[in-house]
Symmetry: C2
């Protein structure tokens, strides 16, 4: 079996490791398709969002498709959402553990 590059995995995880990029992906998940919708929705500066989108595209997470003046984005792989859900699950369970640990201290 092939060893998967830790570097590429780190690059992927890193692309997801920003609150605003997570929010962008959730926005796309819930139906938004272009920056022009996402920017006001998330209250992000246009140039700032553009740079976040570039990161998500460059890392193969989003696929851009021009449609007139706008650029619609779609997720490259639905498993990305699985990743975000799993991260949420882990955070939830970590919080539970900490509560339990405090109780037994």
């Amino acid at each position: 079996m092939t060893v998967i590059s830790t570097k590429l995995r780190a690059r992927l995880l890193d692309a997801l490791a920003h609150p605003n990029r997570i929010r962008v992906l959730e926005a796309i998940r819930s139906g938004h398709t272009c920056s022009c919708e996402i920017a006001p929705d998330l209250n992000l500066e246009q140039s700032n969002l553009s740079r976040h989108m570039k990161i998500l595209v460059d890392r193969g997470i989003l696929i851009p498709e021009r449609d007139g003046v706008r650029i619609n984005y779609r997720i490259a792989d639905d498993e990305i959402y699985h990743m975000l859900d799993l991260a949420g699950e882990l955070v939830r369970r970590a919080a539970e553990r900490n509560i339990l640990e405090e109780e037994t201290e």
Copy 2:
């Protein structure tokens, strides 16, 4: 349903988003338990590794347990490995997509 903090999720993902921290987790997965084994195995400066371990512990990913002079680490939640596997899967599939896209260009 509760909205999971994007900030906490980002912090978790960020903790995993470094090649050496991924390698550390793989080392622990494969049976290593303390820095004294991991440092030479991964060829990392001891103080550097110590800081990586601190990040993993602080973010609730590893749990440290003192045993004499050494500190043994164990994974707080096995789903962390699931996360790393999923990241690998996503990277693999992204690479496949790029090959296919190049062919159709």
